[in-house]
């Protein structure tokens, strides 16, 4: 079966002034459809760079990155933007909602850039908000919502385009543990519904919600293994 993500010998080098920084030295990962993967690593491990590459926010310096069988390394900015728009649903630690727009508009945003008609996108955005059980908060602005609700808006926004992967960067990092559990439960549900989820975190407890953990250190894959004692949402955190 063709993997959603096929990364082979990817290298990423930044030039900071005169110094070359090898953020990714040699990374190879394959992720299949409907996997639930956690990428772990301490800060400076290259975890964020890997996430940026997977999220098509950045392109590798060398190596192969195929997304749904298409080589991303060759793409220009506009093509990358299109992939991000259609196939990747981002969930950020700091939610990253537009502060001046209500929840509905925030969820509609990716659909605006995909060129969907106003009436259609409203229906789709309402559906997505229903999916995260926020239909009654549709016209609230982010500052009128709790942290957990904000993150659920962000998840609805990630879901609304029916993406190939949901890429969540420390999604519980700014939430209290009880709310964090709720959010992880939501990810679990999304996975059960057939979504492919990639979680980037440095917290062991969070990572153990996933089926598979990839540990990154010094720009290399340190360990790639299936989780045997998965944390089930709602049970001990």
């Amino acid at each position: 079966m063709q993997p959603v993500i096929n990364i082979k010998n990817v290298k990423k080098t930044y030039i900071m002034g005169t110094v070359e920084v090898n953020a990714l030295v040699d990374v190879s990962i394959r992720i299949q459809k409907n996997e639930y993967v956690a990428i772990m690593g301490p800060s400076g491990s290259g975890k964020s760079t890997l996430m940026n590459v997977i999220g098509c926010l950045d392109t590798p310096t060398s190596g192969l990155y195929e997304f749904n069988g298409v080589n991303v390394g060759d793409m220009n900015d506009n093509e990358l933007a299109k992939i991000r728009n259609k196939d990747i649903g981002f969930v950020f630690q700091t939610f990253n909602l537009l502060a001046r727009s209500d929840a509905l508009h925030n969820v509609e945003l990716p659909l605006i850039y995909s060129g969907m008609k106003k009436t259609d996108r409203k229906v789709r955005a309402e559906e997505a908000l229903g999916h995260v059980r926020l239909e009654d908060r549709m016209h609230h602005k982010p500052n009128e919502l709790s942290g957990g609700q904000r993150q659920r808006v962000a998840i609805a926004r990630a879901l609304v385009t029916n993406p190939s992967i949901i890429l969540a960067d420390e999604p519980t990092g700014n939430l209290d543990s009880k709310t964090g559990v709720e959010i992880m439960g939501l990810f679990n549900d999304l996975h059960a519904q057939g979504n492919t989820i990639i979680l980037v975190t440095h917290e062991e407890d969070i990572a153990r919600h996933a089926h598979r953990i990839i540990r990154v250190r010094d720009g290399l894959i340190e360990k790639d293994f299936m989780v045997e004692d998965r944390v089930l949402p709602g049970v001990n955190v």
């Binding site: 950045d58 933007a81 945003l109």
Partner: protein, 425 residues
């Protein structure tokens, strides 16, 4: 799909930063205001003048010794030896101009006092001396009583027709016909009154008295140049009459063949053209000032847009992560700066039109509405602009300013690195 979104965002940005936005809008607004204000005021003046000169009557032209308006030193030197058009010459002209419908001869005195019993006017009454056709060529109509007869002109009778303002002042009640009034101390019998036609340029067309030209010359002196007014029978014969009268007057004044005329023709058209010549430089000046103001305003817009891009770096990062292309971001910020300049432009047009039309209230002249599309208020050698065309041009120019000064900030926003932008706090 993007435009509506972008316009909405632009309006939102303006709402959120009220003071900053108002100051920027003011810049554009003042620029547009200055040009629209001046143009509208000039348009009103032009309306007033066109209305005024058309009071001369249709198909009428005048002949005078000197051209109207300023002539330069060179022509002043050339013209200063011109001899007066004497009453005898003018009368001869009258006898020979059978082709014309009317030929009126007139002379003027200004700033006189008219008295009736104990009541006096201000020393501002105009005293016209007219030949028998003079009232017709001036388009003056008698309201009550009658005009003077040929015989009264011949005999320089002390009879007088008075304008409506004078009637109002001296005869607030009662009938002036047959009463004796004094002009400059001399006594005249009122035989008629004139229909009020309203003032031109704030002047008072009713503030005059009219006596036979002969009486006028006996009283105020013969050493003056007579003003000849000729009315053609219709538009078709107008040019023929004009050329014929040129020939007749040259013969009477013994101008040798090949020499230029020693008199000047005026028509409604030449007076309007004269006005346009004088105001053209004012208009060009206004355009220049407006351009400088708009340049300054454009720099203001650029400044505010750069601040806005920096403030909204994070937002740009989010939008890019969600799939906004460079083009999406560029057009969003460009739309914002164009919306900015358009709002400023509309404010400028509204205030400028109001300001310009205050002139119309002061002068009691017809206003120039911003949507007027029939009267050209700016004539350039290439194109004439009506008020509507002016305003549309102003808005297009504002968009242009918005684009020119919005391009760099928008380009900067479009080229932000999404990763860096997302990290921005």
């Amino acid at each position: 799909m993007q435009l509506q979104e972008s316009v909405g965002m632009a309006l939102n940005a303006i709402r959120v930063n009220k003071l900053r936005s108002v100051l920027t809008l003011l810049g554009i607004g003042v620029g547009v205001f200055s040009i629209i204000g001046v143009m509208t005021a000039m348009g009103v003046l032009q309306n007033a003048i066109e209305n005024g000169v058309s009071d001369l009557g249709a198909n009428t032209f005048q002949i005078q010794k000197f051209p109207i308006g300023n002539f330069n030193d060179n022509s002043r030197w050339r013209l200063r030896n011109r001899k007066n058009i004497t009453y005898e010459q003018a009368d001869m002209f009258y006898d020979r101009m059978k082709l014309a419908k009317f030929v009126g001869l007139e002379v003027w005195e200004f700033g006189k006092v008219v008295e009736y019993k104990k009541i006096k006017t201000n020393p501002s009454v105009q005293v016209a001396g007219e030949s028998i056709d003079g009232l017709a060529t001036n388009n003056w109509n008698v309201e009550d009583g009658r005009s003077f007869t040929n015989q009264e002109v011949q005999s320089a009778a002390n009879v007088i027709v008075i304008g409506s303002d004078v009637v109002k002042k001296l005869f607030p009640i009662g009938n002036p016909i047959g009463e004796l009034i004094r002009v400059d101390g001399r006594q005249y019998k009122v035989i008629g009154t004139l229909v009020n036609k309203g003032g031109m340029l704030g002047g008072t067309q009713g503030n005059l008295v009219v006596m036979p030209i002969t009486t006028h010359m006996n009283t105020y002196g013969k050493e003056r140049s007579v003003n000849i007014m000729v009315t053609a029978r219709d538009q078709k014969t107008y040019n023929d009459v004009l050329e014929f009268s040129r020939g007749v007057l040259r013969v009477i004044r013994q101008v040798p063949p090949g020499e230029p005329d020693d008199f000047e023709f005026f028509s409604n058209e030449t007076i309007i053209a004269q006005f346009n010549d004088t105001t053209f430089m004012i208009k060009i000046g206004a355009v220049g000032i407006a351009c400088i103001a708009l340049l300054a305003a454009g720099i203001g817009i650029m400044n505010i847009m750069l601040v806005s891009v920096t403030e909204r770096t994070k937002e740009i990062g989010i939008r890019k992560a969600l799939g906004a292309t460079k083009y999406n971001v560029l057009s969003q910020f460009l739309t914002e700066s164009v919306v900015f300049s358009q709002i400023g432009g509309v404010i400028g047009i509204i205030t400028g039109s109001i300001m310009g039309n205050i002139v119309s209230l002061l002068l009691d002249a017809p206003p120039v509405y911003p949507w007027n599309n029939s009267v050209a208020i700016l004539q350039t050698p290439f194109l004439d602009f009506t008020a509507l065309q002016m305003n549309i041009t102003a808005l297009i120019f504002c968009s242009f300013i918005g684009i020119v000064f919005g391009v760099y900030p928008a380009w900067k926003a479009a080229n932000l690195d999404p990763i860096e932008a997302l990290r921005f706090e």
